[in-house]
C-alpha cells in the first residue's frame, strides 16, 4: 500500500463525508426536535441536486459565468427546502403528530414515493451533468496528488460552517433557544407560551433546506439521476443512527467515519463499497444501541 493511495483514500473520504453530513444533519435535527423520521428527506437531496443542475445548465446556455452558480446553488436549495418542505409540514405532517409511530413513518414514506415520482416526471430518467463549478475552482496538490479544490476544500468548509453555524444558532439565538426548549420538554415549553407549532415548522424547513443544499452542492461532483434520493436517505440514516439520532456534532464525526470507511472499501474491496457504511453502523449499534454519542435513557415503566 503506497502513501499515495492512503492519501487519496483520506481525501475521498473527507469529500464524501462532508456531503453526507450536510444531508444527515438535517435528518437528525428534524428527528431530535419533532421525533419524526422523515423518510422523504432523501427526496429533498435529489430535488436540490436536480434544481441546481438544471439552473446551472441554464446559466451555461446563456453563457453566464459559472461563478454565479455558487450563489445560485444556495438559492435553489432554499427555494426547494422552504417551498416543498413548508407545504409538507403545513398540510400533511401537522395532522399526524398525535398518531401512532408506524403511521407517521408510513406517511413520510408515502410522500417519499410521491416526490420520487414527481422528480422523474419533471426531469425524466436521463442523467444530468453540470460540472463547471467543480473545474472552476481548479485543483490543489496534496502530497503529490492533484485533487479538485471544490471537493477537498470547499465542501469540508461548507460542512464545518453548517456544523458550527447550527451550534451557534441553537445556543445563542432566540429562535434556536426556542427549538432547544421544545426539544427538551414540549409541554413545559408550550406552558410558558412558546408556539410549538411554529417551532416545528421552522425546524422542518431548516432540515429540508439542509438536505437540498447537500443535493445542490453534490450535483457538480456526480451525475444527477433517479434513485439518488433512495440511496441518500438510507445512507444519511446510517450516519444519524451511528452517531445517535438527534446528535448534531456526532453526525459530523460519524459522517467522516463512514466516508473514510467507504473510500477505503473503494480502493481495497470494491465489491463491498455499498456494504461498508451499513457494516459500520451495524457494528457500532451492536455495542452501543443508542449510537456513538447518544444518551442512554432510563426506561419508563
Amino acid at each position: 500500500m503506497s502513501l499515495q493511495i492512503l492519501v487519496l483514500t483520506v481525501l475521498d473520504g473527507i469529500a464524501y463525508g462532508s456531503l453526507v453530513f450536510l444531508v444527515a444533519v438535517g435528518l437528525t435535527l428534524v428527528f431530535g426536535v419533532m421525533r419524526i423520521l422523515n423518510v422523504a428527506h432523501g427526496s429533498f437531496y435529489a430535488l436540490g441536486a436536480y434544481a441546481a443542475a438544471s439552473l446551472g445548465l441554464v446559466l451555461s446556455a446563456y453563457g453566464i459565468s459559472a461563478w454565479f452558480a455558487y450563489p445560485l446553488f444556495i438559492v435553489a436549495a432554499v427555494a426547494v427546502g422552504v417551498s416543498v418542505g413548508g407545504l409538507m409540514e403545513r398540510f400533511i405532517l401537522r395532522r399526524i403528530y398525535v398518531r401512532e409511530e408506524y403511521l407517521q413513518l408510513l406517511v413520510t414514506f408515502a410522500i417519499f414515493m410521491i416526490l420520487d415520482n414527481v422528480q422523474r416526471l419533471v426531469w425524466g430518467v436521463q442523467p444530468y451533468f453540470y460540472t463547471e463549478p467543480l473545474s472552476l475552482m481548479g485543483n490543489v496538490t496534496i502530497v503529490g496528488i492533484p485533487y479538485t479544490a471544490y471537493q477537498v476544500i470547499f465542501l469540508p468548509l461548507v460542512a464545518l460552517f453548517i456544523l458550527f453555524g447550527l451550534r451557534w444558532f441553537l445556543r445563542k439565538t432566540l429562535a434556536g433557544s426556542l427549538i432547544v426548549a421544545v426539544t427538551e420538554d414540549r409541554e413545559a415549553a408550550t406552558a410558558i407560551g412558546i408556539n410549538a407549532r411554529k417551532v416545528f415548522f421552522l425546524t422542518f424547513i431548516i432540515g429540508t433546506t439542509l438536505a437540498s443544499l447537500g443535493g445542490a452542492l453534490a450535483s457538480p461532483t456526480t451525475s444527477v439521476l433517479p434513485g439518488m434520493g433512495a440511496e441518500m436517505i438510507v445512507l444519511s440514516f446510517a450516519v444519524a443512527a451511528t452517531a445517535g439520532l438527534g446528535q448534531i456534532g456526532g453526525a459530523a464525526i460519524a459522517a467522516l467515519l463512514i466516508g473514510l470507511g467507504r473510500s477505503s472499501a473503494v480502493f481495497f474491496m470494491p465489491e463491498l463499497e455499498v456494504v461498508v457504511p451499513y457494516l459500520i453502523m451495524v457494528i457500532v449499534l451492536l455495542f452501543r444501541p443508542e449510537g456513538l454519542f447518544g444518551k442512554t435513557t432510563a426506561r419508563k415503566i
Partner: protein
C-alpha cells in the same frame, strides 16, 4: 365471520372460476402469490412494526427457486419451493436476530438498509445473478411431469391458491395462539411481556421469520410463474408496495392481505394504461388518504358499512372501539 363465511366462499369461487371461465387465471395467480408477502407485513404490523425491506426476502425466494431450477436438469418445482422457503427462513433468521432488537423507526430503517444492500449486491454480481437483466428461469416440472404452458399455469394457479389458503389460515390461528397475543402485546405494552417472564425479542423474531418465510414463498411463486427473477424484486419500491397493499387491505385481519392484493392487482392491471408514468405517485396519494381518513383499510370500511346497515351486528374493528363494552365479549366470540 370473515374466516368462517367469507373466506370459504371466496375459496370456493376461486376453485370453480378457472373451470367456468378463462382469462382470469394469470391475473389471479399473481394475486394469490403477492398476497403472501403482504400477509407477512400484516403479521409484523400486529406488533406495531413496519418493515420497509421485505422485498429482500421476496427476492431471496425468487432467486433461490431460480438457481435450483437451473441447477437440476428438468427442474422440479417442489424442490425449488422447498429450497426457497429454506433460504428465506435462514435469511429471516440472520437479519431478524439483528433487527428485532429495535422498534419503530430503527426497525423500519434497518430493514430498508439491509434490502438496499441486497439489491445492489444482486445488481453487482453479474456473473452469478445476471445483473439487472435478471435471472431467467426455465419452466420446471411438477412432480416429475413436464408440462405445456397452459397446463403448467393451470396447476400453478391451484398450487398458489392452496398455499395461500393454508398460510392465511395458519397465520390466523397463530395470531389467536398465546404467542400471537404476546406479539400483539408488543404494540400495546412491551414491558408487561417482560414482567410475565417472556422475551419480546424472541416472540418478534419468530414472527419475523414467519414473515420472511411468507415473503420468500410469494417471491418464489411469482418467479416460477413469470419465468424470471430481477434485482427489482428486492428494490425498496417493491417493499413499499407490500406495506401499501397491507394498509389498503386493512391490517386488523389476515383477510386484508387477500382483499388488498386483489384490489391492488386489479387497479394495477386496469389503471397502468391511464396512469403509467404516475403510478408511484398515485400509490403514494392513495396511501396518504387511507392513513389520514380510513386507517382500518378496505376490510375496516366494509365492517363499518355493515355495522351501519345491520345495527348492533358490528364487529370490533381496529378503529371502532365505539360499541358499548358489554357487547364486546359476545362479538369477539362471533368473530372467531
Amino acid at each position: 365471520m370473515l374466516m368462517r363465511i367469507v373466506l370459504p366462499v371466496v375459496v370456493l369461487v376461486a376453485i370453480v372460476l378457472p373451470l367456468a371461465t378463462s382469462g382470469w387465471d394469470a391475473f389471479l395467480t399473481l394475486v394469490w402469490a403477492k398476497a403472501l408477502p403482504v400477509l407477512g407485513i400484516i403479521l409484523l404490523l400486529q406488533a406495531g412494526q413496519v418493515s420497509f425491506g421485505h422485498a429482500m426476502f421476496f427476492a431471496t425466494g425468487a432467486y433461490t427457486a431460480g438457481f435450483v431450477i437451473r441447477a437440476i436438469p428438468g427442474g422440479e418445482i417442489v424442490i425449488a419451493l422447498a429450497a426457497a422457503i429454506g433460504a428465506s427462513v435462514v435469511a429471516g433468521l440472520l437479519v431478524g436476530v439483528f433487527v428485532v432488537r429495535y422498534r419503530y423507526i430503527f426497525f423500519a430503517m434497518f430493514n430498508l438498509a439491509f434490502s438496499m444492500v441486497f439489491y445492489s449486491l444482486l445488481e453487482k454480481f453479474i456473473h452469478i445473478t445476471g445483473g439487472s437483466d435478471g435471472l431467467s428461469i426455465p419452466r420446471p416440472e411438477i412432480l416429475g411431469q413436464a408440462m405445456e404452458r397452459s397446463e403448467y399455469e393451470f396447476v400453478l394457479y391451484y398450487l398458489a391458491l392452496a398455499l395461500l389458503v393454508i398460510c392465511l389460515y395458519g397465520v390466523h390461528r397463530f395470531l389467536d395462539s398465546p404467542l400471537g397475543h404476546t406479539l400483539k402485546a408488543i404494540k400495546t405494552n412491551e414491558t408487561r411481556i417482560e414482567y410475565l417472564g417472556l422475551s419480546p425479542r424472541r416472540v418478534l423474531l419468530i414472527a419475523y421469520i414467519i414473515s420472511a418465510f411468507l415473503a420468500g414463498l410469494g417471491g418464489a411463486l411469482v418467479a416460477v410463474f413469470q419465468g424470471i427473477a430481477t434485482p427489482e424484486y428486492a428494490y425498496w419500491v417493491r417493499s413499499g408496495e407490500f406495506v401499501f397493499v397491507a394498509i389498503l387491505g386493512g391490517t386488523g385481519n389476515v383477510f386484508g392481505a387477500l382483499a388488498g392484493s386483489f384490489v391492488y392487482e386489479y387497479i394495477r392491471v386496469t389503471a397502468t394504461a391511464y396512469v403509467g408514468d404516475t403510478w408511484q405517485l398515485t400509490l403514494g396519494l392513495v396511501l396518504l388518504v387511507i392513513i389520514l381518513f380510513a386507517p382500518s383499510g378496505l376490510v375496516g370500511v366494509l365492517n363499518d358499512i355493515r355495522g351501519y346497515l345491520g345495527k348492533g351486528r358490528r364487529e370490533p374493528t381496529p378503529s371502532g372501539g365505539k360499541q358499548p363494552s358489554g357487547k364486546t365479549e359476545k362479538q369477539r366470540g362471533e368473530e372467531q
